[in-house]
Symmetry: D2
Subunit: 336 residues, 4 copies
């Protein structure tokens, strides 16, 4: 029997998930697509031969042929859609972040729990081939016991200041990916966090109490020390690197350049900049994420990243923010 | 008005071209898919919402709603399908090679000429992002006047000996990609070729007069010297590299590894092997190739690689084979 | 007129400095060499045609033909030799560290000040070609305003536990190189430090209150955030990397492998491990350091790294140790 | 008993060999140095504590304390000095090339043979750490049976045209290094050569029948195919790369950059140019070469590169030149 998914959100991530969920796993198909307005949903439905399309997500939730939904709409809509989808008994994939406050996260997750549906949160960095390889290297003991982790996360350019104002702040909006990734790579939980933040890119960011350049350090329960750094602006592209150092060696990911050429002239050797932003850099990761959700539905097994992971990433972001503001170590039990 | 393409061939390359031609260019769609047998065409039609499917390519050629066909079927079927498609007035994209003998190539191309339809030959290496970047560097003068070219083309492992027996030989089957690529990168024509061949991988290859390890050198009209090397077996993956050296510098492509990690242990630093074979290595190039065909159809302009290019690559392969057998320089005017 | 240097210490660093000081700057020569015992000094004197050799450093200090000394002997001997050399009116180069306690450092430096002689401290990382290039990139504005710095310093293997017991601890013995380097690269002073330490390599290290794995973060006056990490054991070699991120880009040093080969087999691509330890990795830096001292003597100008730099590196080490022990941010004015 | 060498030639290569031969092997010392004119020999003698210096090489040859000489003087002087040194019963190291014509080579070598002295020819590329590593990989079977070799040798800029006029031509002057290297790496002899040449850099080169851009191909007795390419001008530095492809994998050397930094800005990633020319690039190889000569003297064993190797490299150069001029394969037995 075919499992049928409705995709809510007809933008670039929606399209990536349609490709992955519709075409990636035999026995799982996309049966409905919803776009907020205009013809995007119609176009997607035609291109992929999807049975129905709509501008109202409630049409999808009411459709008895749909067993699961993928929520790829704007962040502000996540809590309402997830809550209603849970009540409608649909299994749920939701793009990160679930919400921008702990209260809202908890409200949505309690609806999920009450309904007993499957819930997967889209931490796309976990589904990057390089990060999955690092996870295997750590889990298999290939680099021994992990002792230090280093995660670099720098956007190519400052996003729109109004977006940033409502983003939840750099620790919750951006570094939460890295907080989650460190938990995933180490299979361990943080005990405490220390963070510092600066406003180097645009003073407007300071006007709403945020930073654009940050460093943080965490100590995990098993003794691993983790370094995080992030910037809202890297002139050479989207800088996404991870290194894990262990008792037997280290493993790291290198950035993906725009193409695989090297040019040598009197100025030296030149490689192109890093792939520009998240859709270019993580295109394959978004597809893998969708494929994993479809596979979990088919196999009826729990997804690898759930609501608890989203909640923990948010708590780490809150702890880091408090640490940066108060210039002191913050224990995780102070925020959660 | 939408331009509608029929895809003949429901294998991996057929699927790549469906994705590219169906989804890549607004106003161009795939309207029919044909598989030789079984359900592959049906599955593809369902997945992408394609109107019709069939096991008989003549159904596609007879369909008045189809303006163009993409021939992605087995090599032996190319000449017949191309000839019939031309007579049916369809524009044609055909996977490389068009045929294995000059006579057959000429027969198919004269049908195309007589019908006046557009014809694009699928030299996928031309549509690789790295090779396109090199072409731009040469064309723009960024590396000055090109003086030397180096092309490496090594398969990861020996293919089935029966496939090789009917492949046309390593110069026509494999190095023809590189012969074409050198013409494309230099925008110039070869004058003469010198080649040597060995049987190192499997003596069975020698039994039908072929080689599995070859080197060749060509001199082009404008004075550039071009080196080619190929092997049927590289233990570390599919080795695909190009370098152009010019009066102002050089530009080269690096291989694409399986993932972007580097592992350091007591044994040193380790990157994964090169992507294994042509579908992994040239996945994006196949999509770009399909997109270019769809775009040419839409814009009604000639494709960047046509029948004459296929003919010239075959002539270079024939010249190289004669050179290897006779151990002497062969002028292009001796074979064409 | 020739300036004549006496080299005290006939080990590997002594030899490197003889090469640099004796051969590197016209008008400057080594005229005496002292080894603690045995024939090492004699051998060096013969090889390089040095006028005199001795087992007693006081012979060098008494020699009126000697205007300057290079102290390359054991750490414990530094304070006594520097103090006596200053009193004898000799200019002084001293290998790092000057001493293991602030009191001793201050004692030696006050003798230097009283005598009015030139004093250069051997922070060899400053004289590494890569680090000098980074300094130029920062100073020239090539990467814009520096915003974040990352320094990795991992020994290939745990040194003798008795050496470590008297080393001053990892922050003073090892990370002090990095503390100094960050001051040098940024041309700025630290305001505060935060550090964490673990004992992962050998529990014996904990028995004398030391760590073998540490991370630290500093904030500098101009707002730059600096990350440091160090380990006493990296299975893949001596890991020495620096990155500076600024408003216009970033610059980093890569490790130097044992040789420049890459081997590709079915296991993937392999580069050799990093050069094994400080003499291999910093051989050129030690020579440059000696050359700079000789040049400063000849030009009668102050050396680029003096006693104040040694004192500041020690203060940063003390602040880091206090931070790690008390798990809190330590302001520099708390220790100095 | 100490073995004493006289170094004839006080330039940069002479200095490198003094360092290597005087300091590199216990029991071997340099006891005399000769410079054609001026104070260079005197300065070197003082710096290294060498007993005697002179402007007349015959002083060295007459000195009974000298058992061996290193000939690092101008190419035109090699035959005379080698011949006289052999007659004087001295063992001989001679920088490449021994002479520019086969007659002169044979004349000098017959004097060596008649005297029964040891003779080592300075093919410095053999003593490069990367090339030695490749040799070990081939000899040990690490990459299986060698099937193809690729050697790139490009000077950073055209040398003085008068130097080139008397250099013996690009095949004998420059590519002979690569001809020798291929014999050394494969431990095998060439059967035939094919070569093409162009004048792209300076038409003056054509006026004396030479080329500035060449490609060649050789087939060796055991079936390996070898590609060579050379240019008199590479805008990005001194390009020196070697690759050997075998049945189990491949091994290659990468160029050595001026420093180990990478700079990333809006223009992408940039590494510095390759080390500029032979003294920078092969500094360590020259020292290793000198050390090997001293070690062979001490151990009284034949050197790894002798007169026969110089003769064979010259024959390959002659064959390549004939091939380029006649545009045909030239068998080695046609020239030798």
């Amino acid at each position: 029997m075919t499992i049928t998914i409705g995709v809510i959100g007809a933008g670039r991530i929606g399209r990536a998930h349609i490709e992955a969920m519709h075409l990636g796993v035999p026995g799982v198909r996309v049966g409905a697509v919803c776009g907020r307005s205009g013809d995007k949903a119609k176009t997607l439905a035609e291109e992929y031969g999807i049975a129905s399309y709509t501008n109202d997500y409630r049409d999808v939730l009411r459709d008895p042929a749909i067993q699961a939904v993928a929520v790829c709409s704007h962040t502000e809509s996540h809590v309402a859609i997830v809550t209603e989808a849970a009540r409608a008994g649909k299994h749920i994939f939701c793009e990160k972040p679930l919400a921008l406050t702990l209260d809202e996260v908890d409200k949505a997750l309690s609806a999920v729990d009450a309904a007993g549906v499957m819930f997967m949160l889209g931490f796309n960095h976990r589904y990057d081939a390089g990060n999955m390889r690092i996870r295997r290297a750590v889990a298999s003991g290939e680099i021994g016991t992990p002792e230090m982790v280093f995660i670099t996360n720098r956007d190519p350019e400052l996003q729109d200041i109004e977006y940033l104002r409502h983003s939840g702040g750099i620790f919750v909006d951006t570094v939460s990916h890295d907080f989650d990734l460190s938990r995933y790579l180490l299979d361990d939980e943080p005990e405490e966090i220390y963070a510092r933040g600066e406003c180097n890119v645009d003073p407007a960011v300071a006007s709403f109490g945020d930073y654009d350049t940050v460093m943080a350090m965490a100590r995990f329960r098993n003794g691993a020390l983790v370094h995080y750094n992030a910037s809202r602006r890297a002139m050479y592209g989207y800088d996404q690197r991870v290194e894990v150092f262990g008792s037997l060696g280290r493993i790291e990911t290198r950035n993906l350049p725009e193409d695989n050429t090297v040019l040598a002239t009197a100025d030296g050797y030149r490689r192109p900049p890093d792939r520009h932003f998240f859709m270019e850099r993580y295109a394959a990761a978004y597809r893998e994420e969708g494929r994993v959700f479809a596979q979990c539905l088919k196999d009826n097994r729990p997804p690898p990243s759930g609501g608890g992971d989203g909640r923990m990433a948010m708590l780490m972001g809150m702890a880091a923010l408090r640490s940066a503001r108060e210039n002191r170590t913050v224990r995780m039990d102070e925020v959660g």
